[in-house]
């Protein structure tokens, strides 16, 4: 059931990302899917604005009590703590004492919730907001569930970037140009490598890809380094040889 739900969620999110979308709509969809997939009772996506305060971008329900809970955390609370530390924050119970955020906990308890989980929305070194998950029952989320929650938060961040790119004409022109130039760069690097190692073009391409993958580099970065002659040729040669011997029929 869980796996089925998760698969369905990612198909739906991927479809939306490909088709183009409104970012607020996407965040609502994501919040809804969090409720369905993570077996929580309410979810919200909060982003920090240019004043440094958290704003609700999407939530699984527009219930006033829930929105109030999100609003309460705009300057302090578990969600702000999560944003500031870039680490997940859990309040496993709103009833045990002492409570770190007593005012928030009292309102949450009154709203019928037992626990809260906040997961950071990160982009490289930067944290842009947090995903908030409420459950009626008390207790922490299981480790696998927390990992899925982090994946959902990451998808939210990607969605946000995507929306900015699509609505921003300059960025779109840049993205396209970047993709086109990368392609040319890679063809030129294939030529350099083919000549230096005396290999064919497809082996050259595979070599570039394998090297990029094993070092976690962008393919275009590896291509630039090959052209500039700043790459470790010994290692690249080893990668190329491993590939050509793998293709050779065994005796």
């Amino acid at each position: 059931m869980f796996t089925e739900n998760l698969a369905e969620t990612f198909v739906e999110l991927a479809d939306t990302l490909v088709a183009g979308f409104d970012s607020v709509e996407f965040m609502h969809l994501l919040a809804d899917r969090c409720v369905a997939t993570l077996e929580v009772d309410a979810a919200g996506i909060l982003l920090v604005d240019h004043h440094g305060e958290l704003r609700v971008l999407g939530s699984s329900s527009d219930r006033a009590r829930l929105l109030e809970l999100f609003e309460l955390q705009h300057r302090q609370g578990p969600c702000m703590e999560c944003y500031l530390t870039s680490e997940p924050v859990t309040v496993a119970s709103f009833t045990t004492s002492p409570q770190r955020w007593p005012e928030f906990s009292a309102v949450a308890k009154d709203a019928g919730f037992g626990a809260l989980h906040a997961v950071p929305m990160r982009l490289r070194e930067q944290t842009v907001g947090a995903l908030n998950l409420f459950t009626v029952e008390e207790g922490a989320l299981s480790e696998p569930m927390l990992r899925v929650a982090q994946a959902m938060a990451d998808v939210a961040t990607i969605g946000l970037l995507q929306a900015q790119i699509i609505s921003h004409r300059d960025l779109l022109a840049g993205q396209l140009q970047h993709a086109l130039q990368s392609r040319v760069l890679i063809e030129q690097a294939k030529g350099v490598l083919a000549e230096r190692l005396q290999i064919d073009m497809s082996t050259a391409f595979e070599t570039l890809r394998r090297y990029a993958r094993s070092h976690n580099y962008y393919l275009s970065t590896v291509a630039e380094d090959v052209i500039a002659g700043t790459i470790d040729m010994a290692e690249l040669t080893a990668v190329a040889e491993a590939r050509s011997s793998a293709r050779r029929p065994r005796p």
């Binding site: 140009q177 040319v184 063809e187 030129q188 030529g191 083919a194 000549e195 291509a223 052209i227 500039a228």
Partner: protein, 243 residues
């Protein structure tokens, strides 16, 4: 790049040059793109040996001043574009974030009369030889169509500049410039191979490839295929006889 757009841009450039009684050159292309794209002026910055760059041509005084600012201040949209190899579009030059980005440049560029600056690199992968700098005296973004046209103009100018270099290499007086960019994979691959064979930069390798094709009356793509297929090698010394 759609062939239609290239054909449209080339036709516009040829008609514009013919109307003014000049040959199709990168200077003529700068003049023609002002009306094609709908900007106040265009200017061409080329990277020279020192890497600081220099102005090749400006259609008006504002363009010339913008290049002076780039050169003296070492900042601005053109400087960013040349460094990154990416287009830089500043539809509102005097905006808060552009002012933060280029504090010295923006003030002087606005004083010179520019309110919007759009820079398109002259680039083919690792080959980066300069930038086409367009400006307007009123703020406002380029449309998607104008952006695409400007990219095509930049490609045509790159190709015209390569034709010039090819002519210089061949010490030839006549080489009918066609301004047709070559975006075939084989040409890029052959350029990479040649740079290793001849021990030259990628720019130089592409010029040698074009020169060889011209001297032997073959198409650049055909020569590229011979090189990729290892049926042709060019040595560092090989210098085709000028026709």
């Amino acid at each position: 790049m759609s062939g239609e757009r290239l054909a449209k841009v080339l036709a516009h450039l040829a008609a514009d040059a013919a109307a003014r009684g000049v040959a199709t050159s990168c200077e003529a292309a700068c003049e023609a793109c002002v009306s094609l794209i709908g900007v106040t002026g265009a200017q061409l910055t080329l990277m020279n040996g020192t890497g600081r760059g220099e102005s090749r041509y400006a259609t008006n005084d504002i363009g010339a001043q913008l290049e002076n600012l780039r050169f003296t201040l070492g900042e601005g949209p053109c400087e960013d574009s040349v460094r990154s190899g990416m287009p830089v579009l500043a539809g509102d030059l005097d905006s808060w974030d552009n002012d933060l980005r280029w504090p010295l440049y923006v003030r002087s560029a606005v004083a010179a009369g520019a309110r919007a600056v759009f820079v398109f690199p002259l680039r083919s992968g690792a080959i980066r030889i300069g930038a086409l700098v367009l400006h307007r005296t009123s703020p406002g973004p380029l449309t998607q169509e104008q952006i695409l046209d400007a990219h095509v103009v930049a490609d045509v100018i790159l190709s015209l500049l390569l034709d010039e270099l090819t002519m210089a290499h061949l010490e030839a007086e006549v080489l009918p410039p066609n301004g047709t960019p070559l975006s075939r994979a084989e040409v890029h691959q052959a350029t990479g191979m040649l740079s290793v064979q001849m021990g030259v930069s990628m720019d130089e390798a592409l010029v040698r490839l074009r020169a060889h094709a011209f001297a032997h009356d073959k198409s650049v793509v055909d020569v590229a295929r011979e090189i990729v297929g290892r049926r042709l090698r060019l040595s560092p010394e090989s210098r085709p006889d000028p026709r």
